[in-house]
């Protein structure tokens, strides 16, 4: 043990130990985090840290509002019948093209993340809509959940809106310009690979019976209104014409959903949604307290300093593991706390490419327990009680993403040359088109083999 890390390392062990012990005796995660923060503060000599705990608890207030309202929206469109109707329309169009349909559904899920920059919002909106389709293609709950969670993360990192990249860029005064090509190249190929890897050979053509929908006036156009209004409001928000904020947008769309399709009761729906989200909301409050105290007593500085001080040969490995791990508490927090110093450590490569890849690693944090926002909500929408099953099913693409992002950081200059060159967009889109043709041929071949 190097002398420089005392006493911080003891605070860290104490905080982690308290957390693990309390969680093991079934104290709620959020409360365990609060008490472990308290322990860290007392050991540090701050015996009455009320101000710090309350201040920390407010750290993720905006995220909490987004989660609570997105849950209400999701419950409302599920009740109104929008979820099933939309899924049916999409699935029937390509019912004999499972590979192509899977890839297109992955892109569809990503759309919400590309607009909102939030993996939670993505999983609870387009993710929820796509679940019936994935289910109809014979995918198990945990595999469908893993596909949705990973697509949520890729969506959050894909352009135009990538908040972790903005946060890292702001820390070094780098304008958010020129990020579209590298982010496209980082997310879309991975999204395709990820969904195909997770689905594996479980994938089958759409089973139309699975999509049976009862008592929903599906021919009625009004049923789509909540989704349409939501997307319009999100786009208006981003171009700066009408800034309502995600929480209000979700509430407006949720209320709209109670009047369209199957009639619902917004109060009942919101109480149910809040009950489902209270656990994760308290975790976020606890995480805020935990970070506040570990910043106060120097544990955060020790971790950042330790990773940043790694010799350059293993620095990359430190980054590849450290950023997603810290992202367990929050991908935005990880971007700010670790992303910024790491970008500074890698100045001299292609900064935009490095920043983009770091943001992808930070996004991966949304799959890491205990917060694991993307994974937990994906498990929720597919109805999988044990979130860890979803997590395990997503592990292969988690590691592929980690390796790819690290590879890009190590070779940022050559990636930079490609993404900044004139040939990028033609190569990218022609490549996608070729892939689609291959999927179509593959599906035809597969189905013929199954029928003969």
């Amino acid at each position: 043990m190097r002398e420089i890390y005392t006493p911080e390392v003891f605070y860290f062990i104490l905080m982690l130990g308290t957390f693990i012990f309390l969680a093991a005796i079934k104290i709620p995660i959020g409360v365990s985090l609060m008490f472990s923060a308290l322990a860290g503060a007392i050991a540090f000599g701050e015996f009455f840290p009320v101000r710090h705990l309350v201040e920390g608890a407010f750290g993720y207030i905006d995220t909490m509002l987004i989660i609570a309202t997105a849950m209400i929206f999701m419950a409302s469109i599920k009740h109104s019948g929008l979820l099933d109707t939309l899924a049916k329309k999409m699935a029937l169009g390509l019912k004999n093209q499972p590979t192509l349909l899977l890839v297109l559904m992955t892109f569809f899920i990503m759309i919400a993340g590309m607009i909102t920059g939030s993996s939670t919002a993505t999983v609870l909106t387009t993710g929820a809509i796509s679940y019936p389709v994935l289910k109809s293609m014979n995918l198990s709950k945990k595999k469908a959940g893993a596909i949705i969670a990973m697509a949520g993360i890729y969506g959050m990192i894909a352009p135009p809106v990538n908040l972790p990249a903005m946060i890292i860029g702001q820390g070094v005064d780098m304008p958010y310009i020129g990020f579209t090509p590298p982010l496209l190249l980082l997310t879309f190929p991975l999204a395709i690979v990820s969904s195909l890897v997770i689905a594996g050979n479980q994938l089958k053509p759409v089973n139309v019976d699975e999509l049976a929908i009862e008592d929903i006036p599906s021919s009625n156009f009004a049923i789509y209104l909540p989704a349409i209004v939501m997307i319009i409001l999100m786009v208006l928000e981003n171009v700066g014409i009408l800034s309502l904020g995600l929480p209000l947008i979700f509430i407006i769309s949720a209320i709209l959903a109670t009047f369209t399709g199957r009639k619902g009761n917004i109060f009942k729906t919101s109480v149910e949604a809040m009950r489902d989200s209270l656990g994760i909301l308290s975790i976020l409050a606890g995480v805020g307290m935990f970070i506040q105290i570990m910043t106060l007593n120097g544990v955060r500085g020790m971790i950042v300093g330790f990773l940043n001080g790694l010799p350059s040969e293993i620095l990359l490995i430190g980054i590849a593991i450290g950023i997603p791990l810290f992202g367990a508490v929050s991908s935005y927090g990880s971007a700010s706390v670790l992303g910024v110093p790491f970008l500074l450590a890698f100045l001299g490569g292609n900064d935009i490419v490095v920043c983009s890849a770091l943001s992808l690693l930070a996004g991966l944090g949304d799959m890491v327990p205990p917060t694991a926002l993307a994974g937990i909500f994906a498990a929720h929408i597919v109805g999988e009680k044990n979130y860890f099953k979803v997590w395990v099913a997503g592990l292969p693409s988690f590691f592929i993403t980690m390796v790819y992002a690290t590879f890009v950081i190590a070779n940022s200059k050559s990636f930079g040359k490609f993404v900044e060159g004139n040939s990028f967009y033609p190569v990218f889109f022609i490549g996608l088109a070729i892939l689609f043709v291959l999927f179509i041929i593959f599906d035809k071949f597969k189905i013929r083999r199954q029928t003969t």
Partner: protein, 373 residues
């Protein structure tokens, strides 16, 4: 049943107690002392130049030093980022010591008055730090946030579409140094930026200096960032500083980095704009325990380590980067910028009693008035 009711009452009382304690602590930072100094000729509210911020927490005190003798004018901003205490303290030291003989000086110590009224969540920052005065007493100063207080501006949008056309993360709309040149109908922080620009235009301010601090691992450090119109001023000041063995970097304001004081005020007014940076570990990401001592001494073992590994952009060692040194650098740089200005312009700005670099480093407390808050 009875036990459940008792438990319920117990929890509710606990919650109420926590709320009261946290609120008292939160509100303690709203105090807004009026400062004074021998040379201050008038104390005016910033809303004097733009009504739109009147009676809000964005309104702030502007201290005017009018010599009555025709000459040039300068605006000195501290506290654009309220978690960068040396900028604020430099402004306070100047306002409590200087006398203006020719021209006019405006000092705004708390440029974002809302940002000094709270701390950033999850940063573990102290609410106050104190400086020892020669008579053995101490004087407390607030340590704030980089951003406007959410009780004054919330929620921020997902994206901040700056009027220049560039897109920033939504939170930057509560960062005064991304809101220039401001918007009279925008978010409160944009209104604040607009008010400052109105002051500059209406008072025909010649020089604007915006004082900051930056973490030692950040490349723009111990630096003058200048708008291209102020290049000569910056270069001359740097030469003077180097003659005193004070190393300072020069950075020209990048054209595509929008919303910053040196870019937007420089583009939209006739003033020459310069932004000063000095290294400060208490806001850096490598820092260890975060407390008052760190703010005052600037000494952190993890930064010492990082310096040995060659990862910093500022000279840093076991002596730390004390606030007295940071203030001394800022004030001396301002002094030399004004001297450079006087060499190239007929509109003279002559100031007496600017504390010297050595005296500030030796005993900054002796330049502070014994004072409340």
């Amino acid at each position: 049943m009875k036990r459940r009711i008792l438990a319920f009452i117990f929890y509710i009382l606990g919650v109420i107690a926590v709320c009261i304690i946290a609120t008292v602590s939160f509100i303690s930072m709203k105090i807004n002392p009026v400062l004074n100094g021998p040379g201050v000729t008038e104390t005016v509210k910033l809303s004097n130049w733009f009504e739109g911020i009147k009676n809000t927490n964005m309104d702030t005190n502007v201290y005017v030093f009018d010599s009555g003798v025709e000459g040039g004018s300068i605006l000195i901003l501290g506290g654009t980022h309220a978690n960068e205490p040396a900028g604020i303290l430099s402004a306070i030291v100047m306002l409590e010591n200087i006398k203006v003989e020719t021209g006019k000086v405006f000092i705004i110590p708390y440029a974002n008055n809302s940002a000094i009224s709270h701390n950033d969540a999850m940063e573990g920052a102290p609410e106050f730090y104190h400086i020892d005065l020669p008579d053995g007493s101490t004087r407390d100063f607030r340590f704030g946030s980089r951003r406007t207080n959410p009780t004054d501006q919330w929620p921020d949008p997902t994206l901040y579409n700056h009027q220049s056309g560039s897109t920033l993360g939504g939170g930057e709309v509560s960062n005064l140094n991304r809101c220039y040149p401001g918007d009279p109908d925008g978010y409160p922080t944009e209104k604040l930026a607009y008010a400052i620009v109105q002051l500059i235009k209406n008072e025909k301010v010649d020089i604007v200096i915006d004082m900051h601090e930056s973490s030692p691992e950040y490349p723009v450090n111990d630096a003058i960032v200048f708008h291209q119109n102020a290049a000569e001023l910056a270069i001359t000041a740097q030469m003077m500083l180097e003659m005193d063995n004070i190393q300072i970097r020069l950075e020209e304001s990048p054209v595509n980095l929008r919303g910053l004081s040196h870019r937007e005020i420089g583009d939209s007014t006739d003033a020459m704009v310069l932004l000063l940076e000095v290294a400060n570990p208490s806001q850096g990401r490598l820092r260890g325990k975060t407390d008052e001592d760190l703010v005052v001494t600037g000494l952190d073992k993890f930064y010492v380590q990082a310096a040995k590994e060659g990862k910093l952009y500022a000279p840093y060692d076991e002596n730390g980067y004390p606030i007295s040194l940071r203030v001394a650098r800022h004030i001396t740089t301002i002094d030399y910028i004004i001297q450079s200005w006087n060499m190239m312009s007929e509109k003279q700005i002559l100031i007496d009693d600017i504390p010297s670099y050595e005296n500030l480093i030796n005993d900054i407390g002796s330049f502070l008035i014994e004072h409340e808050g």
